[in-house]
Subunit: 344 residues, 2 copies
Amino acid sequence: MKPGSPRKTAKLADVARLARVSTATVSRTLTLPHKVKPATAARINQAVETLGYVAHGAARALASRRSRKVGAIIPALDNPIFASTVHALQKALDAAGYMLLVASHGYDAQVEARVIRALVEHGVDALVLLGTTHRACVLELLAAHQLPCVLTWALDAGAPLPCVGFDNRAAAVIVTRHVLDLGHDAVAMISGVTAGNERAAERLRGVREALAERGLALPASRLVEKPYTLSGGREGLRELLEGGARPTAVICGNDALALGALAECLDRRIAVPAELSITGFDDMEIAAVVTPALTTVRFPAAEIGALAARHLLARLAGQEVAPRTELQVELIVRGSTAPPARQN
Amino acid sequence: MKPGSPRKTAKLADVARLARVSTATVSRTLTLPHKVKPATAARINQAVETLGYVAHGAARALASRRSRKVGAIIPALDNPIFASTVHALQKALDAAGYMLLVASHGYDAQVEARVIRALVEHGVDALVLLGTTHRACVLELLAAHQLPCVLTWALDAGAPLPCVGFDNRAAAVIVTRHVLDLGHDAVAMISGVTAGNERAAERLRGVREALAERGLALPASRLVEKPYTLSGGREGLRELLEGGARPTAVICGNDALALGALAECLDRRIAVPAELSITGFDDMEIAAVVTPALTTVRFPAAEIGALAARHLLARLAGQEVAPRTELQVELIVRGSTAPPARQN
DNA sequence: TTGTAAGCGTTATCAC
DNA sequence: GTGATAACGCTTACAA
C-alpha cells in the first residue's frame, strides 16, 4: 500500500489532534456542522485552516458509501449540441456539490457498455445516459448496483428508466409539415446514420409520417444517410442532385448536414431558398446567424442537462420524481419559401 | 457507515472464496495478471464472471493511493473549441484506462480555485488546467499534494508548470500582417474580454504589435471588447461603425465575434469582404463553410487535449517529459481582399 | 506462486 | 455534544 508516495498532507486525525477532539467530531464538523457546538466547530475549522487539510475523497466514499460523483456518457463530447447538455449538467451538479465524470462512446454500443462499467467501478452515485437503446448488460449492471440513472435526449414511454428529452419524431413532423404547407411536394431528406442512433431514426420516421399524411412518400432516390458532418451534408446533396429525382426541398437530419448542403449549393450556384429549400434540426445559434436561409428546429439541449441533474439530485436526496420529462422544441422559420414553380 | 444501502454486489472476498484463493491473489489477477499462474487466473476470472464482480474504486484508491482519475477544469464546456479539447483529452485518457472529471469555471478565478479544490478532494491523480493565470492558493494546493498538472492553451515560458499550447500573440501577428499586406490601414479590432483572459489579451497584444511594425496604432475608437458571443460581435461592429473612425478591416477575437460581426454586416447590407474585411480566430469548420468571406486562424484544439493527456500519462508512468509543447496555428485565407479604395 | 495481515482515511454506531 | 472504535473493500509488504 504505497505507490502514490507516503502522503505529506494532513489527515483527519491530524486535525483532531490539533483541535484536541476526536476524529469523530472533526468528521461531524465537516459534514454535519449543526450537530457540533459552535465553539468546538470554530476550533476545528481553525485547525483545518492551519493544516491546510483537504478531505480524502476515496476514504470518505469507502466509509460513507457515496462518492458525490455522477457519471455521464455521451456519443461525442465534441458535438456542440451535446457539449451544451454536458455543460448545463456539470453546472447544476457543481452547484449541488457533485462532480461530473464524463465519457464518450462514439456511437458504439460496445464502447458504451465498457465505459459504463468503468464508470460504475469508479464509484459514481448516479449515471446519465443518452438515448434509450443500451445493451442488456448495462441495465443489469445498473440494477445490481442500484444506481440511479436517467436517460437524456430520450422519451420512450416503454423505457425501463426515467427519461428527460423531447420527441424527435414529432419535431420531424413539424418541420416536414412546414415544408409541405409551403407547397413543396418534391421533398428529400439527408438523414443522419440511423443504425444505432434512435434519434436519427425517429427524425426519419417523422418525416415519412408527415409525408404520408399528404399521400407522399420518401423513395430511395430522395433519401441519403450521412454522418453528422459538413462533408456528409455536401455529399448528401450531391447524391440527391445526381439521383435524378431532383427535390425542391431538402430536410437535413441535423445542422451540420444542413450547413454542408447549403455550402454545396453555394458552390453550385444554386440559390437557397429560392431554388431549393433547406431545413435542419439541432439548431445552433451560430448557423442561424450566418444562414438566414435556414429554417430549423431548436432543441432544448441545455435544459436537458439541467433537468437531468435536477432529477438525479432529487433521487439521491430520496425524493420522488417524475419518471418522464418531456421538453418542447421550437420551429424557427427563417428563409424557407414555396417551391420555384409556384413562386410568384 | 451505512447510507448507500448495505451492498448487494460481490466483493473481492466473495470472488476469493469462490475461486478458493486468497484476496491477495484475486487482487493480483485483476491488476498484475502476469504474476499469477494461468490456471489460477482462469479460475478467478471465472469466479469474477459468475459473480458479476465489479471492483470498488474508492477502496482501491484508498489502498493503492491512486484513483486513475484525471481532473480538467475549463472556462466553459459549451465553447465548441474547448469541447474539442476536452473530447480529445477524454478519448486519450480512456484509452489508457483513466476517467476524466470535468468542471468549468466560467472565467471566474474564484470559482476555479474552489473547483480545483473539489477536484483534489475527489482524488484525481493529475490535473489539466487551461491558461497560465491561476490563484496562488491553487499552486500551493497542487504542490502540497504533489499533483502532476499541465497547463493547456498556454505557452508561458515563465510558467511554473508544464504547458501545451500555441502562441496567441504570434497568431494575432500573422492575421494582422495578412490584413496589412492586403493594403488595409484602417484596421479595427473586436476583442474578447481581456480581463481575466490572457488568451484574449495576448491576441490584442499581437494585433497591436503587428500594427506598430507598420507605424500604425489601435486607438480607442478602433477597439471594442465584447464577450465571445454572436451578439457581442454584432454590438462590436455597430459600435465601431458608429464610432466615426470607420475601418476597412475588422479583426475579431474569436469566431463567434467574427460571425456576429458578419451577421451585422448582412443586416446592414455591407458587402463582406468587398466593403469590409472580417477576420477571426478559433476557426470553426462550420463557420468556414458557410462564410467563404472569413479568413481565420485555426487553433489545434484537439491536439492540445491529446497532448495534455499524453503528457500526464507519461508522468504518471514515471517518465520524463518535455515541460513545454508548442503547437502551430494555421492561417486560413478565405475571402479577405484589399480595402475598397484600392480595389479597382 | 500464493497466503497473511496490516493498513489506507473516513464515517457512523454506539456509549458516555 | 463528544469520544471510542468497528467497519468500508482493497492493495501490498512480507512470509511461506
